[in-house]
Every structure is written in structure tokens, then in C-alpha cells.
């Protein structure tokens, strides 16, 4: 079993109107030093296999074909052996 976390970011060349809007909220809070806010996605899941290569291949397929759209997004992931702790599941 592998525990996986994926971070999906908009590619730098793609405008992020959501990030810009949120940043306006920061300005309203008086946080005048906040710049370059960009909003992405954080996804976690497990892969039920003992073989790391198989796990990595499935994660990459999942990221490339479904979780991210390569035209507008980049992804990175971490893969670690073991099941999520009870605390994390809760």
C-alpha cells in the first residue's frame, strides 16, 4: 500500500482569476505584502499494491489522464509506503 499526495498547479502562463480575486480579499484584510496568489488542487489517495513501479505508473496515468489537464495544469506527487494513520483518516 502506498500513500500518495498530488498537487496540481495552473501552468505559469495561464491566468488565475480565482487567485487574483482571493488576493483582493487579502488587501481588504490589510495584508498588503501578499502577492502572486495562485490556487491549485491538493488530492490524496492510496494505491493498493506492493510494487512501487506499478504504483508510480498508476499514479502518473491517473494524473495525466484524469486529475490534471496538461494544457493548463502541471502536477507533482509524493508517494510513500504505508497506510494513512488513523489520525489522518479521521
Amino acid at each position: 500500500m502506498f500513500k500518495v499526495t498530488v498537487i496540481i498547479k495552473r501552468r505559469p502562463s495561464i491566468l488565475d482569476p480565482q487567485g487574483k480575486a482571493v488576493e483582493k480579499g487579502a488587501a481588504h484584510l490589510g495584508l498588503t505584502n501578499i502577492k502572486d496568489t495562485r490556487i491549485g488542487k491538493f488530492i490524496e489517495f492510496t494505491v493498493d499494491t506492493k510494487d512501487k513501479n506499478t504504483a508510480e505508473k498508476e499514479v502518473k496515468d491517473y494524473c495525466n489522464k484524469l486529475l490534471s489537464n496538461p494544457i493548463m495544469e502541471d502536477y507533482e506527487f509524493t508517494l510513500s509506503e504505508g497506510t494513512p494513520s488513523e489520525e489522518e483518516v479521521a
Binding site: 491566468l15 482569476p17 480575486a21 484524469l66 486529475l67 489537464n69 494544457i71 493548463m72
Partner: protein, 232 residues
Amino acid sequence: MSLKFGVVVFPGSNCDHDAYYALKKILHTDVTFLWHKDKDLQNSDIIILPGGFSYGDYLRCGAIARFSPIMNSVIEFANKGGLVIGICNGFQVLLEAGLLPGVLLKNKSLQFVCKDIYISTENRNTIFTKDLEPNRFLKVPIAHGEGNYFADEDTLKSLEDNNQIVFKYSSPEGEISEAFNPNGSVLNIAGISNKKGNVLGMMPHPERSTDPVLQKTDGSIIFKSIINNFLN
């Protein structure tokens, strides 16, 4: 010879009945619903991927619908030259499926925009647009939060070189400028086709502009063009 439309129903589609109604009751054509879990296109001549919020728009609009069992049949049908129209969410599904190039981003304004707009027909050499008169700008509604068309420069050049830009947002008189761009789409793009011209994706809703009772019928010109040119 008669012509049969197939309207795909995904969980979360909400313009499937609008399309069915427009085709059946206003345009008097044969039309059937196609359930997303089925694979059989039921001998449809033209497939419509309707508007709505397939799979709740989770992950990205159209990203999950693209893997519905019916989509394998739709992709195969399109690759053989079959006619496919994606409207609004259906356009998003076509982009995710790779049948059309580019992506639709969140509207520049961040607002969901629901209003009547005008479109200029940029390519009259498709079955969808052959009967559209030059200098006739169609009034059709839009209703979307993510209709901001984007593609990289190479893709845009290829779209222009191959005459794949079918509709652009315009003024009622046909002026194409930022003032008449409701969502930030690059080059005011409202609809594009694939290279072969048999797959059309568009954000505006022609099916919502067919019934005279709603005081606007320009959308039916597009459907009539398809029906006339398919049968001839």
C-alpha cells in the same frame, strides 16, 4: 430519408431536455436520448452533448463525463466523420476528450454569465453553418461560469489557418471587440470545429433560441442548416 439526433444524458446534464424539445417540437426531427452508461448510439446521425453540470463539474468541467461509456462510442463515431455538437458543458467534454483543441477557463470576470449575446459566423463552410447568411449575427443565450476559451499560440494559429474558428462573440452589428466578449475568450472565440469540420463545440445555446414563444429563434437557423445540408 430522415435524420436522427441523439442527445447524450450525463448525470448533471440540464439542457438535454431543451435540446430534445427544440429538435422534436420546434424542428420536427427524430431525436432520442442516449444514456451515458450505454454504448449504443442507436443509429443517430448527429450526436449532441448538451449543456449542464455533468458529474457536478467536479475536478474540471467535463473531465469525468469524458470517460463515460457512451463517450468511447462518440469518439469512434466522430473519428469516422460522424457529426457531433457539444454545447456549453458539451463543448467542455469535447475539449477534455481531445476531439477539439484548447481549454475553457473560468470566466475572466469570475462571474457566472447568463444573458443573450450575439455571435458572428466566421466559417460558413461547415454543415452547421452553410445556411447562415453573411452579415446576419445570431442572438443566442449564454449561461456559463467557465467559458473563457484558451489555447496556446501554435494552436490558435492552426485554428486560424484551418478555418476552425466557427463563431466569435460580436455586437448585434457584427463588431468583434473586447467590449462584446462576455468571458475573456481569446480572439472572442465562441465556437470552434475540428479540422475535418464534423465536430463543433460552442458555448452559446442555440437550443434555447428556437421557440417563437421565447421571442428569439436564431438558434434554429443552425439546426435548420444541419438538417437541410445533411439531407442534401
